[in-house]
Amino acid sequence: MATLKDFRGDQPTWCPGCGHFSVMSSLQKAAVDLGIEPHEMGVISGIGCSGKISEYTRAYGFHTLHGRALPVAQGAALGNKDVKIIASGGDGDGYGIGIGHFIHAVRRNIDITYLVMDNHIYGLTKGQTSPTSSQGFISKTSPKGSSEQPIQPLETALVNGISFLAQGFSGNIKQLNELVKAAIQHKGFALVNVFSPCVTFNKVNTYDFYKENLIDIGAIEGYDVNNRGKVIEKIRETNGLLTGILYQEEKATFEELTPEFPEASIAKQNLHLDVNVLKAIEKQFQ
């Protein structure tokens, strides 16, 4: 059985206090708790401070391009279904440049987990407005306040059929760990959106802000985690400031719905085909 130590990769260079530390340790702890070995997991990240999770976690990693963690992750998951694939990145990475891949990944429902470290800012490029920054947010690229309404990733995911949706907070690592664990265990595309404060560039969406404003769904009477419509409503009502497993359902995955999807991992298929197999295929051209 792997221990936490086994999952430790390179030495993190995140700023002290950065929310991303908690996301990383939640992932590592979830893997340990679930009895996953480092070589059975693939952590595929985009570019951003957040993207460095694949450097700092000891597992098969792929530190890809800005905005492209999801398609790489989907390809890797389809290639070898015996490996747990974790896609990961920031709000800019996933909801800015990467939002197209996000929506299509949601509706495709391939069996992966997606961890978004949502700090409402572009951290690595030193503090520009992000797609989740609130309207009026002041930054280097909106010195007089941003003019755009923030994107709504949770609702966007829900209306496009996501089968598992959770939201956590770096200030509540115990819960976060549980959410990540549940997401990994879920069959299909599972999103964990994490409020992960950037202590250096975002002075609005701070730990204190979230501590004051987050509502846990455990505290909401009659919250129905299987009722998509009601969940959307609740999110709208609370301005998205909810934590917990917000929505979950059993749903056929892309792999299950794809006719003749191979039983065994594609990576393990025999590539040396018998000449007769090839000749049979060739017949169509004659």
């Binding site: 070995e37 492209r68 390809g75 890797a76 070898n80 594609i266 295929i281």
Partner: protein
């Protein structure tokens, strides 16, 4: 008797031009003839003039011909568009109530009541079958020429439909035969091939798909685009049967990055596209390069730039295939020159990709991709699968360091590779500069080592990068790449008739470039590069790579259509005469 016949059917899109041409060529392919074809069509879904030209030859050929011997004109537009292309002795076959045979000195106008004959047999729908029957008779083949194809094509529709079609063919056949026998019409018959073995008839995109499958590809992710979609469509049908899968991606970036993900997981993976899609994949090409992930990208060139001429032919993506992408990566760009070569080269591309752990681009063009050609039955036993330094589970497990040295500095610049799931193989693949375990590094020494490793590793690729037919000391050295192969071959033959020493070099690998070409450049009297673009991209590539200072002439065409042999010969003459002054 003739060595070849060029047959052409033309009319409006939607009139069954395509299927008529296909039945015709398949029948001849089954008889062992060689087929080269070319289509003209408009970038719209219905309506608009279209034609399908088929050159049938006794011996191998890769060019559809300048002239027409038999023109099956389903409307007047077809006659108008093509009458200038008729070869002496040719026949223009028209569907007319009034029968007419008018033999001029140059051609014969043959009007036959095709529709009427068809209607008598079963309806206008079999008109094209009647015309095919006429064609068979003219060419001097049997009236059962199309029988097996009719059976294959309509077996689901039952015997009535089958015999209706066969009857239509026979009716047309007998009509024409009668004319021939009566001597009202003359047309020399086509010689039979020396060896009668039936051939494959296929488009290049199918050859690429099939080559990929045979070469071990088990994953394709791509986005539809003309003229590349058939690769995805064909593999979608065929890959599941061999344990693979195809994903239609949301865009071209997802197309390539999913393939990169699959390749990372250990699958031989590919994406297929055309110019605009390739442009979108530019950044990700760099990802494959720096992360040393083996992937194959088929790019089939069409008329550029922008949306350009999406259904027209051009060879103008050379520069971008070789150069696109910030920074510097190792890449291999292969350029098949025939459909057959597209099959074998694609299979080989996967070996290259895994051996050198880098992206491999297969440079196709619309002509190669879309127009059916005959191909000798494949020699599948010649295809081997070499996974390079991909280690087995056992080999990887031997590693008991914390991290696997995925980017270990090695003599040949290529490192051992482990894939997710393998114990002992944990590492990070990376688009950032990295050290041997794959983790980010900004150390100058690491940077230097990694650059040398990545950019040096292709030095070992010593396979010849071009085919040369002829001597180095040539009067004329003709150079091309891709689908100009056939027309340059025929130009060479033409020129040789004037006792000129002609050498034809066809570039098969655009990068890494095989600089042994220098020898040819230095020894030839005249160097002429023939290509379908405006700026002379291949010529400029040769200048850059060979730096010989040799004066190189260009023959260029960029109007969306392939060269005719006549154009090539004329342009060569101009160049030779200019020099002579």
């Amino acid at each position: 008797m003739k060595d070849e016949v060029v047959w052409k059917v033309g009319g409006q899109q939607g009139e069954g031009i395509d299927s008529t041409g296909e039945i015709f060529s398949l029948a001849l392919a089954r008889k062992g003839y060689y087929i080269s074809s070319n289509k003209h069509f408009a970038s719209r879904i219905k309506g608009g003039y279209t034609h399908y030209q088929i050159r049938v030859t006794k011996d191998a050929a890769y060019y559809h011909g300048d002239y027409t011997d038999i023109l099956l004109a389903l409307d007047q537009e077809t006659v108008d568009n093509n009458k200038e292309t008729m070869r002496k002795g040719g026949i223009i076959l028209r569907d007319m109530k009034e029968e007419l045979i008018e033999q001029t000195e140059y051609i014969t106008n043959l009007n036959l009541p095709l529709t009427q004959i068809a209607e008598e047999i079963g309806g206008k729908i079999v008109r094209n079958m009647v015309a095919l029957g006429v064609s068979a008779a003219l060419i001097g083949l049997d009236q059962d020429l199309f029988d097996s194809i009719i059976e294959d094509k309509f077996y689901k529709k039952g015997d009535t439909v089958i015999s209706m079609n066969k009857n239509a063919v026979r009716a047309g056949y007998q009509k024409a035969k009668a004319c021939l026998i009566e001597g009202k019409l003359t047309f020399p018959a086509l010689k039979t091939p020396d060896v009668v073995t039936s051939k494959n008839l296929m488009i290049g995109n199918e050859a690429v798909g099939f080559g990929a499958l045979a070469g071990g590809c088990r994953f394709l992710s791509a986005y539809p685009i003309t003229p590349a979609s058939e690769v995805m469509e064909w593999l979608k049908k065929e890959l599941p049967g061999v344990g693979g899968t195809v994903v239609q991606a949301e865009d071209e970036i997802a197309g390539i990055t999913m393939a990169i993900g699959a390749a990372f997981s250990g699958v031989r993976a590919m994406t297929s596209t055309s110019g605009p899609g390739l442009s979108l994949k530019t950044e990700s090409l760099g990802l494959a390069g720096i992360s040393e992930t083996p992937i194959v990208i088929m790019n089939t060139q069409r008329g550029g730039p922008g949306t350009g001429l999406p259904t027209k032919y051009e060879q103008s993506d050379l520069n971008t295939m070789i150069n696109a992408g910030h920074g510097e990566i190792p890449r291999i760009v292969l350029a098949p020159s025939t459909v057959e070569e597209a099959f074998y080269m694609t299979a080989q591309a996967f070996n290259y990709a895994e051996k050198y752990q880098c992206p491999v681009i297969i440079a196709m063009d619309l002509y190669l991709s879309l127009f059916k050609q005959t191909v000798n039955k494949f020699d599948f036993s010649s295809i081997s699968i070499d996974r390079g330094k991909l280690l087995s589970d056992n080999e990887v497990e031997k590693n008991n360091e914390r991290f696997f040295l995925r980017y270990e500095i090695s003599e040949d610049g290529i490192s051992n590779r482990s894939i997710p799931g393998q114990k002992g193989g944990v590492h990070t693949a990376n688009s950032n500069e990295h050290g041997e375990t794959g983790h980010i590094s900004e150390e100058t020494t690491t940077r230097i080592d990694m650059m040398k490793k990545r950019l040096g590793k292709l030095a070992a690729l010593s396979d010849p990068g071009f085919d040369a037919e002829g001597e180095k000391e040539a009067d004329i050295l003709l150079i091309g790449f891709g689908s100009t192969y056939g027309v340059i071959q025929e130009a060479k033959k033409e020129l040789e008739k004037n006792r000129q020493q002609v050498t034809h070099v066809h570039i098969k690998r655009l990068t890494p470039f095989d600089t042994s070409l220098i020898d040819y450049l230095k020894k030839a009297k005249q160097v002429i590069v023939i290509e379908n673009n405006y700026t002379g991209q291949l010529r400029r590539l040769i200048q850059m790579e060979c730096n010989t200072g040799t004066q190189i002439n260009s023959i260029l065409k960029y109007d969306g259509n392939p060269f005719t042999l006549k154009e090539v010969i004329e342009e060569i003459d101009i160049i030779l005469n200019k020099e002579a002054v």
